[in-house]
């Protein structure tokens, strides 16, 4: 077989994967595109192993290793995506801009009120509103703004809000996402 054929197929698959990684917005679709790129590399490895006639079969063995690493990567990646979805209620890459440069933020430290007001990330107080009624977004957001504004530079208000909101938001999300784990979450929520 001409080696050009598998090399061409692999090159085109890799380019399609590049397009998918760059153009898709959903994180799971980006993961699928990464899988396409890994498969293009695997096809190259198998083709060149056949071409070179390696007695140790290093190309095919490396293909098996890449497949195993890809499986591990998908497992960890999906766990990260699920954790992201639990905390932010979105898996859209365009909305995950925490590492972007701040546009005009006077205080470099984390101020949840200012960040929720600018819409840079979804605040923890908006989570119950999103679960309960999708149209009821503004009231908790305004409440968080008010708390953040009252806290201002003081750390006590901010920490108190975080401590107060942490268990309730997570309990609600766990109750919504996994009905089987209800007793544990409810018991823990009652204890804390």
């Amino acid at each position: 077989m001409h080696i050009v054929y598998p090399a061409l197929v692999a090159a085109l698959l890799f380019s399609i994967g590049v397009y998918g990684v760059l153009a898709r917005r959903n994180t799971i679709l980006v993961l699928m595109s990464v899988e396409l790129m890994l498969n293009a590399v695997n096809l190259n490895l198998v083709a060149f192993d056949v071409w070179l006639g390696d007695r140790l079969h290093s190309g095919q063995v490396l293909t098996l290793f890449v497949i195993v690493i890809a499986a591990a990567e998908v497992g960890v990646g999906l766990a990260i995506i699920l954790a992201l979805y639990r905390n932010r209620k979105t898996v859209d890459i365009d909305h995950l801009r925490d590492l972007a440069e701040p546009a005009d933020d006077p205080s470099p430290e984390d101020d949840p009120g200012a960040r929720s007001a600018s819409g840079a990330r979804m605040p923890a107080t908006a989570v119950p509103a999103l679960i309960g009624a999708p149209t009821g977004g503004p009231p908790p957001r305004s409440r968080s703004e008010e708390v953040g504004g009252a806290g201002g530079g003081g750390r006590s208000g901010e920490e108190g809000r975080a401590v107060e909101d942490g268990p309730s938001a997570e309990g609600l999300s766990g109750e919504e996402g996994r009905p089987g784990e209800d007793p544990g979450h409810l018991g823990r929520g009652g204890a804390s």
């Binding site: 061409l8 898709r24 917005r25 095919q60 098996l64 766990a79």
Partner: protein
């Protein structure tokens, strides 16, 4: 291996089958990255991986082909479908699957494809490999893995174990860590002593203080 290259104008049956499978793989991969339905993307990925397994079979890499079917089609796609289900993705058509930089992505992808195809055609025009069946069977590959490549194999098994434990730690909700812990760096042990009892994960500080508060005798006896 490059002395007598057969003509491109008289393809063998293997090459025809390989090119057909490659066309199926490329077409379904294009549908993966362009479809408007998230679940259909995962199902087209099944077609792409299956066609690639057929390509491996034609290239006499039997064991790799079956591993591809088992792991990719069997496990990875199921994991991706579970991810789609658990993130409550829209099942029907949704127009916001593509981000705003589609044109730039297409330009980059076409440029990558152009460069790669040009270089590959230029570099491997005279490369030819006669296919001998049975070269990639499980017997030869297993002997090679467990004699020459046994150290990377063991290292990879440890890596897989670490990745699975990491996935479990990341996806369990009763292991506290991550988002709440940077928000309350020192206040966690004072604010919620009960929640620290369940935590045995990355943040060991609140869990230790919580456990000491709940059962001081166990703390002194254990340590």
């Amino acid at each position: 291996m490059t002395e007598a290259v057969p003509s491109y104008l008289s393809p063998t049956g293997q090459e025809i089958v390989f090119l057909l499978l490659g066309a199926v793989a490329i077409g379904s991969a294009l549908l993966v990255v362009t479809t408007k339905q998230l679940v259909h993307a995962a199902l087209w990925l099944v077609v792409a991986f299956g066609a690639l397994a057929g390509c491996y079979l034609v290239l006499t890499a039997e064991f790799v082909a079956w591993v591809q079917v088992l792991i990719y089609v069997g496990a990875v796609i199921v994991l991706l479908l579970f991810g789609i289900m658990l993130t409550r993705a829209p099942v029907g058509r949704s127009d916001d699957l593509d981000s705003g930089n589609r044109v730039a992505a297409a330009v980059v992808a076409v440029a990558t494809a152009g460069v790669l195809v040009t270089v590959v055609i230029d570099g491997f025009r005279t490369a030819y490999a006669p296919l001998t069946p049975g070269a990639g069977a499980a017997r030869e590959l297993g002997a090679s893995i467990f004699s020459t490549w046994v150290l990377p194999f063991e290292a990879l098994s440890v890596l897989l174990l670490a990745a699975l434990i990491g996935a479990i730690v990341l996806s369990r909700t009763d292991i506290r860590g991550g988002p709440p812990s940077p928000a309350n760096p020192a206040d966690g042990s004072d604010g919620e002593p009960g929640a620290g009892g369940l935590a045995d994960g990355p943040d060991a500080d609140p869990s230790r203080t919580g456990a000491s508060k709940e059962s001081p005798t166990d703390q002194t006896g254990g340590h």
